[in-house]
Symmetry: C2
Subunit: 379 residues, 2 copies
């Protein structure tokens, strides 16, 4: 695609600017699918744009495993880290905040403000740790539905998300057909295959075998950084692609291979991954990582009857997008969801984008992806 073709996507784009997160707190017990409960629920979220008088222009964004509620704008002059989908969300952007009231909520069970294993149990005054109830993707969606209730939003214009966010998106369409106007699920699947479980299981072993983990009872100031960083390094490889890594890093070296043997960084790609691992430890809770990956491994739209039966509950039109280079949630698994939707008579579209950056392709600036999302939101 040449510059002149790309230009219309850029023109008129603006930034959402400074944003602040908010906390929705429900003092009612929140019940989990597993039967467990917590005495109160917090959902942290950000919004961009304005809710219209009819309250029918809300778009809910569901984030991925390591994402959070901060998907657009910046928090302050001091804390200028742009939201993780800032390219996508803003005035004139594909998720156009001059048209839509955009809500991005932090996932239940995570560690960035919503209730999770690291939260204080108000009944005991101490962190839940492994007393936090068993978590499912359905629980995440259920918590988000309470947030929307509190905002007076009965029906969403759209739900959208990639990866774990794509699973939440599908769950929204299944569990709340009357509240979803349309949905877009990116880089997701109906359930994990054995390889995805294998990677998650190995990451969990890295954490729970770290003696510092201490059955979940570590001091938050002294987390099991060894295990968590290794889990993240490994997972990060699965978010990229062979070709993408080769183009970005190849065999570039950070240090010469001369001298005595050592196991410090030698190749550029090692340096990159170590940074990813180390920075993750400063922003992510190990127990939350365990809970969230378990929720993903257990997510299974084929159960209890069949994929077709599960998807029969859907009423909204949907767009499912797979990426050719995604080997964590291969495009085939995305297509499978769309095909099942069509088989049971739903209004569904499948798009497969040829992007070289693996699973994380949905996070990248791509005119094709932007056009797809922009068009589907206004159809």
């Amino acid at each position: 695609m040449n510059d002149s073709e790309q230009a219309p996507l850029i023109s008129g784009e603006g930034e959402v600017g400074f944003v602040e997160y908010q906390d929705f707190v429900s003092r009612e017990p929140f019940c989990f699918e597993s039967g467990g409960s917590i005495p109160e629920l917090t959902v942290r979220y950000e919004t961009y744009g304005r809710l219209n008088a009819a309250k029918d222009n809300a778009v809910l964004i569901c984030h991925a495993l390591s994402g959070n509620h901060h998907c657009a704008g910046v928090h302050s002059m001091e804390e200028r880290k742009q939201g993780w989908w800032n390219f996508m969300v803003g005035p004139g952007k594909p998720i156009d905040t001059s048209r839509y009231f955009v809500v991005c909520s932090n996932a239940l069970g995570g560690c960035s403000g919503s209730s999770g294993p690291d939260s204080i149990n108000p009944e005991t005054g101490v962190r839940y740790k492994l007393d936090f109830p068993k978590l499912t993707v359905r629980d995440m969606v259920s918590a988000q539905s309470l947030l929307l209730d509190s905002l007076g939003i009965d029906r969403l214009h759209a739900v959208i998300g990639g990866s774990m966010g794509g699973m939440q998106t599908l769950q929204w369409a299944i569990d709340f057909p009357d509240r979803v106007g349309r949905y877009i699920a990116l880089a997701c699947c109906a359930r994990h295959n054995a390889q995805a479980i294998a990677f998650n299981g190995t990451g969990r072993q890295a954490i729970v075998q770290d003696p510092v983990w201490d059955n979940g009872n570590y001091d938050p100031e002294q987390p099991p950084g060894h295990g968590l960083s290794v889990a993240r390094m490994m997972a990060h490889i699965t978010y990229l692609s062979d070709a993408g890594m080769e183009a970005k890093f190849g065999r570039k070296r950070r240090s010469s291979s001369a001298g005595k043997e050592h196991f410090d960084v030698e190749f550029e790609v090692e340096s990159y991954l170590r940074y990813q691992g180390q920075s993750f430890v400063t922003r992510f809770d190990a127990n939350a990582y365990l809970y969230l990956t378990k929720a993903l491994d257990r997510f299974d739209l084929h159960g209890p009857d069949s994929l077709d039966a599960t998807l029969s509950a859907v009423t909204a039109p949907g767009l499912v997008v797979g990426f050719t280079s995604d080997w964590l949630y291969p495009s085939q698994g995305n297509r499978e969801v769309a095909e099942a939707l069509l088989r049971v008579g739903k209004d569904a579209t499948y798009a497969e984008l040829a992007m070289d950056f693996g699973h994380d392709s949905f996070l990248l600036r791509s005119p094709e992806l932007y056009d797809l999302i922009r068009c589907f939101l206004v159809r």
Copy 2:
């Protein structure tokens, strides 16, 4: 392929039976490519079949990273574990011990009898640990050449190996053109791509961040099992394939998902990988794992000039075999080696086998692979 077609492969096959390893010990200093040296060298090996009077029927088998010298037969009634390539090596088998004198030597730098970081330095009486010199694939081949000298073998009928063994095989053809009659390199590459380095680098981080590793100075009775087992679990995933894992494990469960959250085994594939990780710790030295993976990451037939220039040294005819489902050393990388060989006028054949079991396909019983190897050895 139907049974009647497969039958000829099986008929006449026999077992090599009981075997014993032997140690070749050189009291001369052994010099490494890096400039380092060790005061003496041990190479552990097994042989099967008989060396003929002309001493021209020897086939050298090079093993992969976690393999060893025990590739066929069993050691005793008590220790009845068959060698790792027992399907392939024996009377009437593709590497036919009624025709060939087969030698399988333990790789230098490993931990199964040949000199490595866990060996005792005879000058100091203590283990080398990280004082072991920096290791390359060329060093492994150089040590093997001394073993062959000691056996009176000037020229090999063939060299064969897969994965790390394939790299050694190529290095043999390059470094000792006069000593190699033909060679077969399976599931290998001219050099690691960024993704392969990334997985190895993450595995090394799992080990070196394990406090028990202690900069390599751990007690061999108390190894850094946490780090090593996680490294192995992750690596093991890369040896398999998406489709192969799905066929073998799918989402089969070992335990129900009911009750309180826990991080014990839930899925069958988790159980399998944990066993792989734990058993590896009992048979593999963590420092050896670090040294060997470094040697693999640094292996680069494109340097110092070009792949074509490096391969110009080859004189023997070669067969390179890639496997379609191998995503660690993709078939494309195998084909690249064969294409370069042809480009510089060498006698080379490339075969690509459609097998579903990923990188480890070369270890599996496959009529197509057997026929290829059998035919190429007698051509």
